[in-house]
């Protein structure tokens, strides 16, 4: 059976792993390679590296560490941040990234997704979506340039419509980050993820809100996502991935025990 994936997310800024709360006040939590190795050894199924400054600062992701990750880590990893052209994508894939994830540049030009999928195969093209629940309108809105608080803007897209559009363009996976939940550890947004699951025919990864082992169990059992991504609970050693997997196995959830 296909295992549910546990995916630590390493937000990278200027070559260090950082983490903020609700996308604010980023603090350095460690070096890239030792953290990546640590999570792989604990049983992480995949790693995601987001260069969160790249899109907002209008530059491409600093690539020097990608080859080192590929050389040392024997699980798949995805790199995101400021990938605007096929050449950007090609460089990262040739350095050994298994997938590349695009977010803000896809919002600027949705056909970028189709061009990348055509050239490299849809299996390595992930679209990251930052979804924000707006109390006033009662809609989930897609945000752009979330790596920098000052640059963050609300797009014209409702999240459901954008999820349809990126699949139409040919993406191979969607990471849905619910910004209201990010870093606050109150659990994944099950309702939103469940709604998106109904219209998402590619693998769907939940992001934003993990605080306890039960939150992972809930998102797999109630929203039927393919993977769950988290950062701070892993970086702060609040949840050990090996123990999390044992917990999920006890809940009859299919994961790869290590």
């Amino acid at each position: 059976m296909l295992a549910k994936r546990i995916i630590p997310c390493l937000d990278v800024k200027q070559g260090k792993v950082v983490k903020g709360v609700k996308f604010r006040g980023h603090q350095i939590v460690g070096d890239i390679i030792p953290l990546a190795r640590h999570y792989a050894q604990q049983g992480a199924d995949e790693l995601v590296f987001y260069d969160i400054s790249a899109s907002a600062e209008n530059r491409v992701v600093d690539r020097s560490w990608i080859k080192q990750v590929a050389a040392e880590i024997d699980i798949p990893f995805c790199v995101a941040g400021g990938i605007k052209t096929a050449l950007d994508a090609q460089t990262l894939l040739e350095f050994g990234a298994d997938k590349i994830s695009i977010n803000s540049p896809a919002l600027a030009d949705p056909t970028l997704i189709a061009r990348l999928a055509q050239q490299f195969g849809k299996q390595c093209i992930v679209v990251g979506i930052d979804s924000y629940f707006d109390e006033a309108s009662q809609h989930y809105q897609v945000k752009q340039f979330t790596g920098d608080e000052a640059a963050t803007r609300t797009t014209q897209w409702h999240t459901e419509d954008w999820v349809q559009e990126v699949q139409h363009q040919g993406c191979g996976e969607i990471v849905l980050n619910v910004m209201n939940q990010d870093g606050v550890k109150q659990g994944y947004d099950i309702k939103q993820l469940n709604n998106i699951r109904q219209i998402c025919k590619v693998p769907l990864i939940a992001s934003g809100g993990a605080g306890t082992m039960q939150h992972f169990s809930d998102v797999f059992q109630q929203a039927h996502v393919d993977g769950a991504l988290a950062a701070s609970v892993f970086h702060r050693n609040e949840i050990n991935i090996a123990e999390l997997k044992q917990f999920l196995i006890q809940q009859q959830i299919n994961v790869r025990a290590c």
Partner: protein
């Protein structure tokens, strides 16, 4: 960058078939390095013929990969190889006779080294691509030595070889399919051993020790 494997006085080769689109060469190369295997990446006919073993990697589109092999005039070289050859993912799919990935006007003819073919995965309502860690069963080849049935390995694909006499390992996603196939010196795995943690490294090590 040519390196030799001193113990055998020869070298292993990873075929650089790629150009655009087939980009797991770096990962496969690094995995071989982690095993301490001296490896060369090459698209040179003489080097390929002389290698003690070859790995044919590849992700992306079958048509692009076949066009590359034709352009580099490597088709005949590959079909005549006598040494152990391991195809990975798209590399495995290219070893079969034809693929439905490019079905217009007719299925795309591939290398025809292993007597099977490639079809779309029919998964009912499961998400596609089939992406992530899944279990392999019915392991029937020396390259699985020391690997337990039900072990998890990493898959990323939307097309697959059906079960057939060439099948040496099975997986199930909506339908059962070939996780690995083999015929004579040609072995293909649909999953990515270079990304499958310890299980994958064991498989690569077994391949390096396999002599038919």
């Amino acid at each position: 960058m040519i390196t030799y494997l001193p113990a055998r006085g020869c070298y292993e080769s990873i075929l650089s078939d790629s150009g655009y689109g087939c980009a797991n060469i770096a990962s496969v190369y690094f995995a071989c390095q982690r095993l301490g295997i001296k490896t060369e990446v090459s698209d040179n006919k003489q080097r390929i013929k002389a290698a003690s073993r070859l790995i044919l990697p590849g992700v992306g589109h079958a048509q692009v990969a076949m066009d590359n092999l034709k352009q580099k005039d490597l088709i005949e070289t590959l079909t005549q190889l006598q040494q152990p050859v391991l195809g990975i993912c798209l590399g495995m799919q290219l070893m079969t006779s034809h693929t439905a990935e490019n079905n217009q006007p007719a299925p795309l003819a591939t290398l025809n080294l292993i007597d099977t073919h490639i079809e779309p995965l029919i998964t009912a309502n499961l998400p596609l691509p089939h992406m992530g860690w899944n279990q392999i069963t019915q392991l029937k080849h020396p390259i699985f030595k020391g690997i337990a049935a039900q072990s998890y390995v990493y898959f990323v694909h939307s097309y697959a070889a059906p079960l057939s006499t060439a099948t040496i390992a099975q997986c199930k996603y909506g339908q059962p399919f070939s996780a690995a196939i083999a015929e004579r010196n040609f072995i293909g795995v649909q999953f990515h051993p270079e990304k499958s943690a310890r299980v994958g490294l064991t498989l690569l090590q077994n391949f390096m020790e396999y002599n038919g």
